[in-house]
């Protein structure tokens, strides 16, 4: 526990707070069809894209058409990625001559990148050609992030509009998200990372003679360009298997800090965009507040659990208890940066890692797991965090509305049985899926075969894999060997479920809100922009999530925590 750690946390929070409003305002203007400072340069490009693709800029879609186009787009993207991976040995930019990717792995990876999960069952540098990395994966880092963003914007429009059928044009939202938000920030970010020493080349690997005289192959590649969008788009799929712990992905404390900021940049600002577009900014502050409180809370638990000396090591001579638990961490980042990264990457649906959670203390390792189980709603994935949170808001508002004796309403929209049904379906179908599939994996020989540890720790690894793919987070607890047919299929199914069983109902909710009248704020309805509501929202998230996952957690990290305290490891 060091002062510098706190200063780093404070600096991180301060910068995120400072960027929220400008970026939020920019996105609100962009998606409301207003001119932005980039419009003079980008509008011709945008028009050209629409002309080529035959998109009619002003033709808006009903929620069904919006969802239909989105699903079709994702399907085509997935099939294309699959084909590229399978056929990479016939395609260019394969200097190391890597063979085609096996079908199950190619399918898992294609789904993974098209659902913004970026679960990596493969090892990037040893499996994928540069062409696959760039066109198969990096492209989808943009497209899947922009898709999430588009859904969030469509949902915001649902809240903002009244008595209308349409919620926007999917292709327009998608194009604008990429062109005006993701690309400009990525270009600037990549240049900074190159300055920090991240490689950006399409040349082959370098052979080096080590001091001992052995030959070592050092893999290079177009790392910087992929690195920025990996964080910015809350994708998480690293160029290297070691992800952001790898010195070429994340060479310095400064690069680490910047990459970490990129993770929360858009999700935090998007909450502000929500407030601006519905014309009720205090409502957005309430959601922001709930996310912020959960963030501080989870960060504190993880930090203090990790900063405690490991009871298993205190007896060993030479162990410095003030160091906390440094196992599995990069010394250039240290404990604080590793914990901060763990909390942001799991709170958002990013999933990039700069330290291995497998080596965290049980309680600290439980924090990312719980964050992910709650659905990655602490700012969350690009777009996904906001719309995931709004599902919880619908439930919280419904319960609160009943308690004050009024049909509940949120930002002027009455919440009726259709919305409750859809929100519940989206929330519960995915959590139920996580529990069912992970419990099956825990008793199937194929499921337990790949475990890195036995007992509760092994169970945590399984739970983590399914929760992470379900929430489209994509981070891994490490320890689980998951590149086999069983996990590739099971986890691909979980990713699809976690993505589309949420997106379709939330778009349906958006459609039904857009069609409703907007009710004026009445004194009789309880305000949803107060501390009381923030507390209720957090309680609903924690209690519903807790009730669902507590038994599983009890058998995983909780029992491990008590066992470790008693000097017993797994």
């Amino acid at each position: 526990m060091h002062t510098t750690d706190y200063l780093q946390f404070a600096a991180y929070a301060a910068i995120i707070l400072a960027t929220t409003q400008p970026l939020g305002r920019y996105m609100a203007a962009l998606f409301s069809g207003q001119k932005t400072f980039l419009s003079p340069i980008l509008q011709p490009v945008e028009r050209l894209i629409y002309a080529i693709c035959g998109v009619q800029e002003n033709a808006e879609h009903s929620w069904k058409r919006y969802a239909g186009h989105l699903l079709l787009f994702a399907l085509i993207g997935t099939i294309t990625t699959y084909a590229i991976l399978r056929l990479q040995h016939y395609l260019p930019f394969n200097p190391m001559g890597l063979p085609g990717v096996p079908p199950d792995l190619a399918m898992n990876t294609a789904v993974s990148f098209n659902t913004n999960t970026d679960w990596q069952a493969y090892s990037g540098e040893g499996t994928l050609s540069y062409f696959s990395q760039m066109t198969g994966l990096a492209v989808h880092n943009f497209l899947s992030a922009a898709t999430g963003l588009a859904v969030a914007i469509a949902v915001i429009r649902g809240f903002a509009r009244k008595s209308t059928k349409t919620i926007g044009n999917f292709y327009v939202d998608l194009t604008r998200g990429i062109l005006y938000i993701l690309l400009p920030i990525s270009i600037v970010g990549a240049l900074i990372l190159v300055w920090q020493g991240v490689p950006q080349t399409i040349g082959g690997s370098v052979d080096a003679q080590t001091l001992e005289g052995a030959r070592q192959t050092i893999v290079l590649g177009p790392v910087a360009s992929q690195e920025v969008i990996k964080e910015l788009g809350t994708n998480g799929g690293g160029f290297f298997n070691a992800n952001s712990a790898h010195p070429f992905e994340n060479p310095t404390p400064l690069s680490n800090f910047l990459e970490n900021l990129l993770i929360f940049l858009i999700p935090a600002a998007l909450v502000d965009t929500f407030g601006r577009m519905i014309g009720r900014r205090r409502q957005a502050y309430a959601i922001y507040g709930a996310m912020g409180i959960l963030f501080i809370f989870t960060l504190s638990i993880a930090y203090f659990a990790e900063a405690m000396p490991n009871p298993a090591l205190t007896q060993i001579a030479g162990y410095d208890p003030t160091q906390g638990n440094m196992e599995g961490k990069e010394v250039r980042f240290g404990l604080a940066d590793s914990v901060l990264w763990a909390v942001t990457t799991s709170g958002s649906a990013c999933g990039a890692v700069n330290a291995m959670f497998d080596s965290f203390m049980p309680l600290a390792g439980m924090v990312p797991l719980v964050n992910i189980m709650l659905g990655c709603i602490i700012f969350g994935g690009v777009g996904a965090g906001l719309y995931g949170m709004l599902l919880h808001v619908v439930i919280a508002v419904f319960i609160a509305g009943l308690m004050v004796g009024r049909t509940p309403e949120y930002v002027g929209k009455k919440i009726e049985s259709r919305e409750v049904k859809l929100a519940l379906f989206a929330l519960l179908a995915t959590t139920a899926g996580t529990l069912i599939l992970s419990s099956i994996a825990s008793v199937t020989p194929a499921g337990v075969a790949g475990l890195g540890s036995a007992g509760p720790h092994g169970l945590t690894e399984i739970l983590y894999a399914f929760a992470s793919t379900d929430a489209n987070n994509g981070s891994s607890f490490a320890g689980l060997s998951d590149n086999n047919i069983f996990y590739n299929v099971m986890l691909a199914a979980t990713m699809l479920m976690g993505r589309f069983i949420v997106i379709v109902p939330i778009l349906a909710i958006a459609g039904s809100f857009a069609a409703k009248k907007t009710v004026p704020t009445s004194y009789g309805a309880f305000p949803t922009d107060t501390g009381l509501f923030v507390a209720l929202l957090i309680a609903v998230i924690v209690i519903i999530g807790g009730l669902t996952f507590f038994p599983a957690l009890a058998l995983g990290p909780i029992v491990e925590h008590f066992a470790l305290s008693a000097g017993m490891g797994y």
Partner: protein, 687 residues
């Protein structure tokens, strides 16, 4: 607010409880129970647990026989208790329906044989059809719901309203509706029957309280969806736990898992949900309001704007004397005495109010014998009063008329009066009142201020409504000046002066366009379009058939302020549901801490740390949780039937209070209760 006019049976009366207990068993029938998904699931797993237990006792053998048998019993108790809650609510309704039915005696009706002429035939009331015309004379019971088409009669409606004073019903007026089962006290009327047999208000009320016509309201449906969702997720949680346990190298007896499931699924609210709904409808009927649908009651809880007619709702129907203003040179006593003399034989409400004001506030008294002849009001003179023995004339009347009278010049105008009087006249008019002038022996003595008297307590009620977030709009035919004065005095938020039915309808439409829910009450045919347009339309039972057809609630007492009670009942219904749902979900936290360590302590002894209640043994922990889960249903039945305490206050205050009581309380209470049950179980050695 005296809601209960009929005596509500005590919450758990012996006779009712007995009948309800039997009914609870009858309700085990899955064909009907499936309508309550949470309890249905409980019944199914109780059955599975019982079969497994019997199998274990007879064939396979196994551990924990005693505890397993007890768990099975408590699972069944959980179902029975939930059924009992519903049965009690229904039994209370049935008992009430019985008392209603007693008023619905078979009577003879004198039906007109043809539209022309007065020849009648006697037929049983049950054979009357819509459109039949009957003649009802003094002392007879009106054979069915209908409308007076000829004549005027005073009617004793106490059978329906409990109110002993009889009311006047007159053809062609706004008060032409009559209800079957009420008795004509004087005169004779022709009534056109408007209800088919079995569809009278009484029949409707009976069906409502018996629960036969109960349909789930939109909010109830949404809540049921939430409960079903939670039930499914807990089914998944429990099922996955079985597999996780296998992974962890332990086995959990199936019956224990079933116990966990039943404690987790929201049985508390699931068991009480229909009781809350029935009790809410019951309260409404006891307030003498018949709802055409449950939807209307719920909408009442949601109302944003309340349109209220001034006359009868906010003010008494008539203007009343409020003050005396003596003319210069006249003493107050002289004026009061003259006013009293002039009003002694005045039978109008205004006249009576003058007498009351003079005698009560000014202790004036006169000898009636001094009056030789009383002068009735006439539209021609616009004065009334008395001629005294000795020829002295006392008059009161419209200011113009009295001025003309005292000056002896029919064209005299106010300009000839003292400026003080002219000033006072103006002041009274501005305040929305009506001035009356008083003269004695040809001399103007002063003025009487007649004003609309606001009903006592109405201001407080509007304050209450404002706290609930409901805006009140007063509708009146008065001019804007008068309307503004009364509106300010009554404390309404807004008013509509010089209102016409069209303007009223327009107001409702514009409010609805803004997304507000509007409630109003009305009785006349010209109110019908507005009643139909309003989200909540309360029609007066005394009103015309058109109005009653248009409204979605009918007030048998014909009391316009009833709207406020309806709003309260609607809100209380929603709050009771919401609060018990929160309580039910919050309870699960403690149950986890009781059951999870108990299930896995064999595999992971470290989990003893989660046994924060320090329950005696794993078996007693599970048993305590399931016992608590069953008993809490019984414990909350009175609350469900009575409704959660509801004091009108802002939504924030209400939410804070209910979250504290039912949310936080829902987390804390079971910890204490489960611990207490565990202590008891271990003390008497049940586990």
């Amino acid at each position: 607010m005296a809601i209960a006019r009929f005596r509500a049976p005590r919450l758990l009366e012996g006779r009712l409880t007995g009948a309800a207990s039997i009914e609870a068993f009858r309700k085990l029938n899955p064909a009907t129970l499936w309508r309550n998904p949470v309890i249905f699931v409980t019944e199914v797993v109780a059955l599975v647990a019982t079969i497994l237990a019997v199998r274990q006792f007879t064939i396979t053998g196994g551990e924990h026989n005693g505890v397993i048998a007890q768990i099975c019993a408590w699972l069944w108790f959980t179902v029975l208790f939930a059924n009992f809650a519903e049965a009690v609510a229904e039994a209370r309704g049935k008992a009430f329906a019985e008392s209603l039915r007693r008023t619905q005696l078979e009577t003879k009706a004198h039906r007109l044989i043809s539209e022309y002429g007065d020849a009648t035939e006697d037929v049983p009331s049950s054979s009357l059809r819509e459109g039949d015309i009957v003649i009802v004379s003094a002392g007879e019971i009106i054979p069915g719901d209908g409308v007076v088409i000829e004549g005027i009669a005073s009617i004793d409606e106490s059978a329906i309203t409990g109110e002993s004073a009889s009311v006047i019903r007159e053809s062609g007026s706004e008060r032409s509706g009559v209800t079957g089962g009420t008795r004509v006290v004087s005169d004779s009327i022709k009534v056109s029957i408007t209800a088919k047999p079995g569809h009278s208000f009484l029949d409707r009320m009976i069906r409502l309280v018996e629960g036969a016509e109960r349909q789930k309201t939109p909010n109830e449906i949404a809540l049921t969806i939430l409960l079903v969702g939670l039930t499914i997720i807990f089914l998944v949680v429990t099922a996955s736990l079985e597999l996780f346990a296998t992974y962890s190298g332990g086995t959990i007896p199936m019956v224990f898992l079933i116990a966990l499931l039943v404690t987790l699924i929201p049985t508390t609210i699931g068991g009480l949900l229909s009781a809350i709904g029935i009790a809410g409808m019951d309260r409404l009927v006891r307030a003498n309001v018949v709802a055409k649908s449950g939807r209307a009651v719920e909408a009442a809880g949601d109302v944003d704007v309340l349109l209220l007619d001034k006359t009868g709702t906010i003010t008494f129907g008539n203007r009343m004397a409020d003050d005396f203003i003596p003319a210069p040179g006249t003493t107050m006593a002289e004026l009061v005495q003259a006013a009293l003399l002039a009003s002694l034989s005045d039978e109008t409400p205004e006249g009576k109010s003058i007498v009351r004001l003079a005698t009560e506030r000014y202790n004036a008294s006169v000898d009636p014998a001094t009056v030789e002849r009383s002068i009735e009001f006439s539209a021609f003179t616009r004065m009334s009063g008395a001629d005294l023995h000795g020829g002295e004339e006392v008059r009161k009347g419209a200011v113009d008329a009295i001025l003309a009278y005292v000056s002896g010049d029919p064209n005299a105008r106010a300009r000839q009066t003292a400026p003080d009087i002219a000033h006072a006249v103006e002041r009274i008019a501005k305040a929305g009142g009506t001035p009356l002038a008083v003269a004695r022996a040809g001399k103007l003595l002063g003025l009487i201020h007649l004003k609309d008297i606001i009903k006592p307590g109405i201001r407080e009620r509007f304050g209450m409504l404002r706290q609930m977030g409901i805006r009140t709009v007063m509708i009146t035919g008065d001019n804007p000046l008068t309307a503004a004065t009364i509106a300010a005095e009554a404390g309404v938020d807004d008013y509509m002066a010089e209102a016409t039915p069209e303007k009223k309808l327009e107001l409702i439409r514009s409010q609805q366009k803004e997304g507000k829910l509007v409630a109003m009450c009305g009785d006349g045919s010209n109110d019908a379009p507005a009643l139909a347009q309003a989200d909540v339309g309360v029609a007066m039972n005394s009103g015309t058939p058109a109005a009653k057809e248009a409204g979605n609630l009918i007030d048998l007492d014909s009391d316009p302020t009833k709207l406020i009670e309806v709003v309260l009942i609607g809100k209380q219904l929603l709050i009771s549901r919401g609060s018990l749902t929160t309580f039910s979900i919050a309870n699960d936290v403690a149950k986890y801490f009781a059951i999870i360590p108990a299930l896995f302590i064999g595999v992971y002894p470290q989990l003893q740390a989660l046994n924060v209640m320090r329950l005696g043994s794993p078996q007693s922990a599970i048993l305590s949780a399931i016992i608590f889960n069953a008993l809490i249903i019984i414990a909350l039945i009175p609350l469900a039937l009575r409704g959660v305490n509801y004091k009108p206050s802002s939504a924030s205050a209400l939410l804070r209070r209910n979250l504290l009581v039912f949310g936080l309380g829902g987390i804390v209470v079971p910890f204490a209760a489960i611990k207490a049950i565990d202590l008891l179980i271990n003390a008497i050695g049940m586990a």
